[in-house]
């Protein structure tokens, strides 16, 4: 879809500037170092609107002044930005904007970093002639519980409205009324709710929209900005922390087109007060909460682990690449145990992982922008990787990409989708198999409509969720192969385009999933995804081994199995059965309370380390704020623990930890801290990127199939993943059609679960976000609600076997009959308690009392 744009030459203030055809004059001028003041122009918001008139310039041959933000360059254009006529216009525009502006800079939060102040200073008349009363609004008032609006200060630039209409597409913000009574607001003055709405405070060029969380906290000269990466979800958006007195006061977006496009979600923006929460673990502790020194804690942990005689396993979650690498060094090198994993549930085997890691199969985030078709498979980006949701919306809106969605649960993207398919929970691999068959051989089945929209697409990006599970991931590789992924584009028999190109982009369960896998935190692969002599247990096998006592010690790094893993009661049993637990945790969680030795972890505002984006981009998390209490860096604690266990890693600082990692992972070899820089670097694009191990059986299989010209069989389970057999809890029934799951009148519904964006510590430990804390809601289809005689708001008890949780009914049009959904990780009513790693059916009974 991308066409090579012609270069043109324009003369701006006497300078020759080479610009790209179609580019706006303002951007061309910037290339020639000519500054034109703007208020409303922001390319990220889509087409320019020319609302503020600040950017007027004189173009030779056009009698009237033109807005440079919305005038595309033409070859040979001669432009003047400093003539008397332009100056007069600029003075007039500023004067007009200030006619109704209160100029209460001293009490305004924007003061000191305000474009209106800067432009008035630089391009304004310097004197006011206004003696009349200015317009008045009630101020400041709540636009949402997080954003204050001061309508007197608004200069009606449309930026916030365009964000709401064209970027987050929630269409809530409007300009209401007319003339000088125009103001920004929502219908009926309802609060503006959107998981991205904090971005409007970055966009507003005046102090009309300000954050309650930053209200009057500091001035630009009181603070330091520190660039880092948000690791609250796998999007790994680039952020900039505003730090005053060693504490984070605000989080701003730091634009990185390859990652976040300059937006961040409200989780990342407002989820910083938990860094200083009372629940933080601020020093090493022993069981019962006794504080001990680091030296003492390391000695105890080393002694306890060494005494377990190799019967030790480790599970890693929220950790940097270096921390993951050091943990695998401890487990494999010092404790001589092969058992470690970094995935909350059983994942695909190493062959599938290697296959997925092939650079030619990898879609980058920017690939979404110019994709012809985007297939969202088994994930709701809004809940699991919010910034991808905006990216997909942008591709649809701006470049006309088509969207196909195949998930268990309705997603936020459904509205823009051309084809939607729902499969029953646990039926992902069956569904993908059917889709592969429909794609490869035109088979008529449940997936045919979806296959139709993949037809004739030049560039397909499949955004898939790790929660598809092991066998579905293997099926996914079959699908990618059927879409003719790699190598020469030969085209398939049933009319698929010869230029078909497919890329996969994963939405993993934990923020740094890819980095941890590549650092070797996998049961069947070492650092650099290298094959191992002995394979260990994965997460679920570790749990079972703890229960049957074949494992004895457990190291948990940044995970909270009692909340985040399926089957919480069995995890409790396993952790209780372990005779020695070493836990690294940021917060005092239920899991942390069971640790024999508990070490604190840093947050992403304090940590120094690298993380790997799902598309392979290594980014650096840099320390911005001071570490509270007596927290020491994670690499230091782990390196010392390793040393105490007699395994010298040679790691004495963050750079040496990074060097050890890049030395151990062949395809990270040419990555240095300097080429990571501020934007990160994809390892696939470095010199050493080619040294990713061969995908082995799987791709050999694929290659031979392509050579023989045979299309992929419909069943598609060609990838022989060693772990797959034990790791596939799904596909117990062979019906993907949800309607067929439960016959009308059946007492049970199939349970699907999802990760809610706002469940967990984020809303529990950040006081400003408490109002978003979700309660457990049982989502039902209208048919089932009617059959069970349940109405929205009814309190119910959902039970599976002897386990049950309480919830409130909501009825959702787009949920197929026979299925119901609950959210994971909700304190007190966690859907993970009902799961058992298999497809689960639940009974629903109405409770008489309303839940407390």
């Amino acid at each position: 879809m991308s066409h090579e744009k012609r270069e043109v030459t324009v003369t701006i203030d006497g300078r020759e500037v080479t610009a790209i055809e179609g580019e706006m004059l303002h951007d061309a001028a910037r290339k020639g170092d000519v500054e034109i003041p703007v208020f409303c122009y922001e390319p990220k918001l889509g087409a320019p609107v020319g609302a503020c008139r600040m950017c007027l310039v004189e173009i030779e041959g056009i009698p009237k002044l033109q807005t440079s933000c919305s005038t595309p360059v033409r070859d040979g254009m001669v432009v003047h930005t400093r003539t008397d006529q332009v100056k007069k216009a600029q003075n007039a525009v500023v004067e007009f904007l200030l006619v109704n502006h209160p100029l209460d800079c001293p009490v305004c939060d924007k003061g000191g970093e305000c474009p209106l102040q800067d432009i008035t200073q630089g391009w304004g008349p310097g004197k006011s002639r206004v003696i009349d009363e200015k317009r008045h609004f009630e101020k400041p008032i709540e636009l949402s519980p997080l954003v204050a609006i001061d309508r007197e200060r608004c200069i009606l630039c449309y930026r916030c409205v365009r964000f709401s209409q064209e970027v987050s597409e929630d269409a809530q913000l409007q300009l209401l009324e007319r003339g000088d009574r125009t103001y920004v607001g929502t219908f009926d003055d309802r609060p503006y709710v959107s998981p991205f709405h904090g971005n409007i405070t970055d966009l507003c060029p005046v102090g009309a929209l300000t954050n309650y969380t930053y209200r009057f906290r500091a001035r630009p000269w009181d603070i330091e900005q520190a660039g880092s990466v948000c690791t609250l979800c796998p999007s790994q958006c680039n952020v900039s922390f505003t730090v005053r007195d060693e504490k984070v006061k605000r989080v701003l977006a730091r634009e990185n087109p390859g990652v976040d496009d300059g937006w961040i979600c409200d989780r990342g923006r407002y989820g910083f007060e938990m860094f200083a929460a009372a629940e933080r673990v601020t020093e090493p502790r022993t069981k019962g909460g006794t504080k001990v020194s680091y030296e003492d804690a390391i000695a105890r942990a080393a002694a306890g682990l060494a005494a377990r005689d190799g019967k030790v396993a480790a599970i890693v979650g929220d950790a940097s690449n270096e921390e993951g690498f050091l943990v695998q060094g401890i487990v494999r090198g010092a404790l001589h145990s092969p058992h470690l994993d970094s995935r909350p549930a059983a994942g695909p085997g190493i062959d599938a992982i290697l296959d997925l890691a092939r650079p030619e199969l990898q879609a980058t985030v920017t690939d979404i922008d110019d994709a012809d078709v985007i297939l969202v498979l088994g994930t709701d980006p809004l809940q699991s990787s919010p910034i991808l949701d905006l990216r997909i919306r942008k591709a649809i809106r701006r470049s006309g990409a088509r969207l196909a969605v195949a998930t268990e649960r309705p997603t936020a993207l459904d509205g823009g989708a051309e084809a939607i398919a729902r499969y029953a929970p646990g039926q992902a691999s069956y569904f993908i198999g059917a889709l592969t068959a429909a794609v490869a051989s035109g088979a008529e089945n449940v997936a045919t409509p979806l296959a139709e929209s993949l037809r004739d697409a030049g560039k397909i990006v499949i955004v898939w969720g790790e929660r598809l599970g092991a066998s579905a991931t293997n099926e996914l590789l079959g699908l990618a192969r059927a879409l003719d992924v790699d190598g020469p584009k030969t085209g398939l028999s049933d009319g698929f385009s010869a230029h078909q190109q497919v890329g996969l982009l994963e939405v993993p369960e934990v923020a740094n999933a890819r980095g941890l896998r590549e650092a070797g935190v996998l049961p069947d692969a070492g650092p650099g995804l290298a094959a191992l002599a002995v394979n260990g247990y994965g997460t679920e096998a570790i749990r079972e081994a703890l229960i049957d006592r074949s494992l004895d010690g457990l190291i948990l790094v940044g995970v909270d199995p009692l909340r985040d893993f399926a089957d919480t009661s069995r995890w409790e049993e396993a952790i209780n059965a372990a005779s020695f637990v070493v836990c690294f945790s940021t917060f005092a969680t239920a899991t942390a309370a069971k640790a024999d030795v508990l070490f604190p972890l840093e947050t992403h505002a304090e940590k120094d380390g690298t993380v790997t984006h799902p598309d392979g981009r290594l980014q650096r998390v840099r320390p911005a704020a001071g570490r509270p209490g007596d927290i020491r860096p994670g690499w230091q604690t782990l390196a010392n623990l390793s040393l105490a266990l007699g395994h010298d890693t040679g790691v004495t600082s963050q750079p040496t930890a990074f060097a050890a990692l890049t030395a151990a992972v062949p395809f990270y070899a040419s990555i240095t801290e300097s080429n990571i820089g501020g934007r990160g670097i994809r390892w696939q694009e470095t010199e050493s990127g080619a040294s990713v191990p061969d995908a082995g059986i799987a791709s050999a299989d694929a290659r031979s199939r392509r050579v023989s010209g045979e299309s992929t069989p419909a069943s598609g389970t060609s990838t022989a993943a060693p772990g797959a057999a034990t790791d596939s809890p799904d596909t117990q029934r062979d019906s993907a059609s949800a309607e067929a799951v439960a016959a009308p009148g059946a007492p049970e519904l199939t349970l699907g679960t999802y990760r809610d964006l706002w469940a967990g510590p984020i809303t529990e430990l950040n006081p400003p976000l408490k109002f978003l804390k979700p309660s457990q809601r049982l989502e039902l289809s209208p048919e089932d609600a009617e059959r069970l005689e349940l109405a929205p708001g009814d309190p119910v008890r959902v039970s599976q076997g002897d386990k049950s949780i309480d919830a409130t009914v909501t009825v959702h049009e787009r949920i197929p009959a026979g299925v119901c959904f609950l959210a994971e990780g909700i304190a007190g009513a966690n859907a993970n308690a009902l799961l058992n790693g298999h497809q689960v059916n639940v009974q629903i009974e109405k409770r008489s009392e309303v839940p407390a």
Binding site: C105, G111, G112, F216, R219, W221, D222
Partner: protein
């Protein structure tokens, strides 16, 4: 080239500049030379003599204080509105931005209706000046958009502990215990600080 002709040649843009004519004494030699030798010396001696007959000038500090000029820049004061009693300072931090010694620290907070501290939306929850670093330049006073801070007349700030020189908002709002005498208009330069 004389200065005058240089300026004349220097182009029209210098027209607006005031050219100050320098008055010079007579050339050396003759009567003029004698005047320069004795006249000027006598003029200087006149001042010396007049001080001689004035007697000793010792101010009995600290019992007696040197009066200062009204625009003397001593220890800062924060002000309140006389009618409402609200603090004039809104915690905008502009003084801190202007301060070349970086010795002002402002932490602002939001006014709660009913418990107003200042008249605006915000007020200074913390306002500190580290007087051991202050150079009494008065930039903070110039920067303040609300005349909330002014340079006072108090110059007695010696202390035994550096930390005691960090003046808090309460200290700056309070009236100094002893007022420094002010010079009245037209008063002589004598003994002025």
């Amino acid at each position: 080239m004389s200065e005058q002709s240089f300026y004349r040649q220097a182009g029209s843009y210098l027209d607006s500049i005031d050219v100050v004519e320098v008055q010079r004494g007579p050339e050396p030699g003759g009567l003029g030379g004698a005047y320069r030798a004795f006249g000027e010396t006598l003029r200087g001696l006149k001042t010396t003599m007049s001080r001689l007959i004035e007697g000793p000038l010792t101010i009995q500090y600290p019992e007696e204080k040197t009066p200062v000029y009204p625009r003397f820049r001593g220890r800062h004061k924060l002000h309140r509105f006389e009618d409402t009693g609200l603090e004039k300072c809104v915690g905008c931090s502009l003084c801190a931005a202007a301060c070349p010694a970086d010795c002002i620290r402002v932490v602002a907070a939001e006014n709660i209706p009913g418990e107003r501290v200042s008249s605006g939306e915000r007020y200074a929850a913390v306002y500190e000046i580290n007087l051991s670093r202050c150079i009494f330049c008065g930039y903070c006073e110039i920067a303040c958009p609300f005349d909330a801070i002014t340079m006072g007349h108090d110059y007695e700030m010696a202390d035994y502990d550096r930390t005691d020189l960090i003046f808090t908002k309460e200290m700056l709002l309070a009236e100094p215990i002893e007022r420094t005498p002010l010079k009245s208009e037209g008063e002589d330069v004598k003994g002025a600080l």
